[in-house]
């Protein structure tokens, strides 16, 4: 994983870069890329990841597995090394929606050690699942699905867009009504997310100061001890975000950055609420492209950040989202999986899992097992 969850590729790991099981020269996504790659490669049944801005959903898409980001507060954050406290959620990876649902049930619920964890009852997600043989011809009849227009416009790989449109058609065949919806504040979410996440992380990571954690540098005075211990102990992406966040919270800049980003967050939340009043679920790609090459965006952080456009708004709104593989990008030498993101209203994981489970079972002719593990990957 990327150090402290900061990154979209695992290239920011303090240890090793994880390879994508579909193509070892490509990134598995991130930050929780290792968890996704392990499930994809069949090294484990399910795994956990942390999703602050898409760190479960984007690697799920890149590795062709199911990734579930629960509602903020559904799962306790106690024990999770904090990145951005108001956005962090523990998420689940699995090779099927059912596995992800079973795992979510196991980890959900109120925790008295996390004041932000919800006291809402946790439904038995698995009881909603209907076996394929028992499905009628239009199992999702009447379900209103909104395709977020801003997520299939410029800057998105055309093959990704066509996969998502294909998935939308599949949902229509299952009985859903699919319409395009617009979330006008969608593009504002990305800068707002990076300001808020960096601000909170600059505070959360203050404890790694060399006094108790990290390599303590012997220094002449206290400021040097802090400065040199942190300079040597933290990775470059982490330091960049701490600096950005410190800047955004500084006197004179707080109103222009942190406060405005909070206002954008309110707008984002409201636009999702309006869209989810009109629709049962919203759909979008999980990432603007399939997995890219290791090193491709390493020296271009802005391009890497732009890849988070599909996912960060969901964290800002605190909503649940399910990513599941729905197709392939075939332009490169190997077929690479593409994931569809289904977004629900707060605490409606049950609905997402039910829809996802039906979608997954009725998707014809696709196997999302990477060639490394099996040769039956053609779609």
């Amino acid at each position: 994983m990327d150090e402290f969850g900061m990154g979209s590729t695992t290239e920011g790991s303090a240890y090793q870069v994880t390879a994508n099981p579909w193509d070892l020269s490509r990134v598995p996504g991130g930050s929780s890329g290792g968890s996704a790659a392990a499930v994809s490669a069949g090294q484990c049944m399910v795994s956990l990841g942390s999703d602050t801005g898409g760190s479960v959903r984007q690697p799920a898409s890149f590795c062709g597995v199911v990734g579930l980001k629960p509602t903020y507060g559904r799962v306790s954050r106690y024990g999770l090394v904090a990145y951005a406290s108001s956005l962090d959620v523990i998420g689940c990876f699995g090779t099927s929606v059912a596995d992800a649902g079973i795992l979510l049930h196991a980890i959900s619920g109120h925790d008295k050690f996390d004041a932000t964890s919800s006291k809402r009852e946790v439904p038995d997600f698995a009881s909603q699942f209907i076996a394929r043989d028992n499905l009628d011809s239009k199992p999702l009849k009447g379900l209103r699905v909104g395709l977020i227009r801003e997520t299939i416009e410029d800057g998105v790989d055309p093959e990704v867009t066509s996969s998502i449109r294909g998935a939308a058609s599949h949902l229509e065949e299952l009985g859903c009504t699919v319409t395009e919806v617009s979330l006008p504040s969608f593009s504002l979410g990305l800068p707002a997310y990076y300001i808020l996440a960096s601000s909170e992380s600059s505070s959360n990571l203050s404890r790694y100061d060399g006094v108790r954690y990290g390599k303590q540098v012997v220094a002449d005075e206290l400021n040097s001890l802090y400065g040199e211990s942190r300079a040597g102990g933290l990775g470059s992406e982490v330091k960049m975000r701490i600096l950005m966040g410190t800047y955004a919270l500084s006197a004179g800049y707080y109103d222009a950055y942190y406060k405005r980003a909070q206002q954008v967050r309110t707008l984002v939340r409201e636009s999702f609420r309006a869209a989810l009043d009109e629709n049962d679920i919203l759909i979008s790609p999980a990432a603007p492209s399939a997995a890219y090459k290791i090193g491709e965006k390493k020296n271009d952080p802005l391009s890497m950040y732009a890849g988070d456009i599909m996912t960060v708004n969901v964290n800002l709104a605190g909503l649940p989202a399910l990513v599941l593989p729905c197709g392939f990008v075939n332009s490169s030498s190997v077929a690479l999986p593409v994931g569809i993101q289904m977004i629900g209203a707060a605490f409606e994981e049950e609905k997402l899992l039910k829809v996802g489970h039906i979608f997954e079972q009725t998707l014809q002719g696709c196997s999302f097992i990477p060639p490394l593990v099996s040769d039956e990957s053609a779609c």
Partner: protein, 489 residues
């Protein structure tokens, strides 16, 4: 013990000036371990009437003092005596061996989260109501960020722009030996926050090393090149109320009496032991001086390290003299915005650090804690449960016909006031009851260093005794002997 929990911090001494350890940007830093004193003895000491020494004031300046006016405001930190800390379930007991009352939350370990102790809100509301403040029905916590080794998370959970209580006042009756009189001092705000830990450091074989190390029974190696600082996090996360006054005080006595009244108030309310020597009540004073008639304030100086009411008073009087002297010598530019330390031994204030511009604490709302919402019902319940407060008690005693001296003595300590109230509730003569308590009983308590709760005599017995003397059953002289016997046995 500490070594098993916490790493020391090693700093090369060549560049280091020891006082820079004191240079934290927030609050008072207690570096030296204080000897454990019994609470009784400490309280006794604090209750001793203030003696203002004029010896430390430069004589030459006396004739100018009348031409200047000091403007004084006080920030007080009150440590709440809740059973557990503010955001975890660790207990706090002053004087426990280092790092024996810590957990992942108050040590700031990764993954640990704060959960608010609801008693902290209750204490804050009690104090807010008692200080006649307006309560914020919706407040929140914020993070105040700075680096210091006693602050394990790198931020302090505090309240910034929406404190739980604002805009109140405190009534104070000045002691008769300083001319008496009633004052009403404004309260700007009351907010909740967490305390920091303590640093223990060694500096080359000095008294403090031997003292702290042998006292704490810590086995440790000291790098011969450097200082070794150790961190004790027992106090980290202990709930505090910060109470900020308006700049309404003009003399050292007024400031000391304000602080003393706050102590009385928190003890009456049962929210804190208010003990200054243990750091349960800590005062930082802001003071400026201006020529009488001038509207704008002079340059403000902050004084820290005030460990008793008399040091509050003496430090202020010293500082007034110092600043007036500079004014009168035309050296007003020598008064700079700075933090000064009161040196008890030398009886003077010395520069601790000059202000390097305004510190930027980068406050932002604490995302780990939900907002604090009070309901009318909750506040009403607390309001109804408030005890009679010192000011009300004094006015009631005054109305009974007691002299101001009697009033101040009896209302000073809520235990003595309770003893007195119980005695007269049984029908005893008010003046006689006051005389016995302030006379023979107080003398006994002082000699034996005990509190009124520790003497054998009960208020009922005192009432019967007074009645017996009054109706002539026994003489006053016999009464005295009976009291002497009864308080002890």
């Amino acid at each position: 013990m500490a070594l098993t929990f916490l790493r020391g911090i090693q700093i090369n001494p060549s560049m280091l000036y020891p006082s820079s350890y004191f240079a934290r940007k927030h609050g008072v830093l207690y570096c030296c371990m204080r000897s454990a004193q019994t609470q009784t003895a400490t309280q006794e000491k604090e209750q001793t009437k203030l003696k203002v020494s004029t010896q430390s004031q430069p004589k030459a300046v006396d004739k100018y003092l009348k031409d200047y006016e000091a403007v004084i405001g006080i920030e007080t930190h009150v440590q709440l005596s809740t059973l557990t800390k503010a955001f975890c379930s660790c207990p706090y007991n002053y004087g426990s061996p280092p790092n024996t009352s810590v957990c992942p939350v108050c040590m700031g370990l990764p993954g640990a989260l704060p959960v608010l102790n609801s008693k902290v809100i209750e204490c804050a509301v009690r104090v807010g109501l008692a200080l006649n403040c307006k309560l914020s029905m919706n407040s929140k916590f914020d993070r105040k960020q700075y680096f210091y080794p006693d602050l394990p998370k790198g931020y302090q959970i505090s309240q910034f722009d929406i404190p739980i209580a604002t805009g109140g006042y405190l009534d104070v009756d000045l002691p008769l030996e300083y001319g008496g009189g009633h004052r009403k001092f404004g309260i700007t705000r009351v907010h909740m926050e967490e305390d920091a830990g303590k640093l223990l450091h060694t500096d080359g074989g000095s008294y403090s090393q031997e003292r702290t190390l042998s006292h704490l029974n810590i086995r440790m190696d000291i790098d011969f090149l450097g200082f070794l600082i150790q961190v004790d996090l027992n106090r980290a996360g202990v709930p505090l109320l910060e109470i900020v006054s308006e700049p309404d005080m003009r003399t050292g006595i007024e400031a000391a009496e304000y602080a003393s009244e706050l102590q009385r108030l928190v003890r009456y309310l049962g929210v804190s032991n208010g003990n200054m020597q243990e750091g349960s009540l800590r005062c930082d004073v802001n003071i400026s001086v201006r020529p009488i008639g001038q509207l704008e304030f002079g340059t403000k100086v902050e004084i820290k390290n005030l460990n008793s009411f008399s040091s509050v008073s003496r430090a202020i009087d010293y500082e007034i003299s110092r600043q007036v002297q500079l004014h009168s010598q035309g050296q007003v530019d020598q008064i700079v915005q700075e933090t000064r330390l009161w040196e008890e031994g030398a009886q003077k204030t010395v520069t601790m650090r000059k202000k390097e511009g305004l510190a930027d604490y980068r406050y932002f709302p604490e995302p780990d804690l939900p907002g604090v919402t009070l309901t009318e019902e909750y506040v009403d319940n607390i309001r109804e449960s408030l005890p009679e407060l010192p000011e009300d008690k004094r006015r009631r005693y005054e109305k009974m016909g007691l002299s101001m001296q009697d009033v101040l003595f009896l209302a000073n300590d809520n235990n003595i006031a309770d003893f007195f109230d119980t005695t007269i509730a049984g029908g005893a003569d008010v003046k006689l009851a006051a005389n016995w308590i302030m006379g023979d009983i107080a003398a006994y308590m002082k000699n034996e260093k005990v509190t009124i709760n520790e003497i054998k005599l009960t208020p009922q017995e005192l009432g019967e005794l007074i009645a017996s003397i009054k109706d002539g059953t026994i003489s006053g002289k016999i009464g005295k002997e009976v009291i002497t016997l009864r308080v002890m046995i």
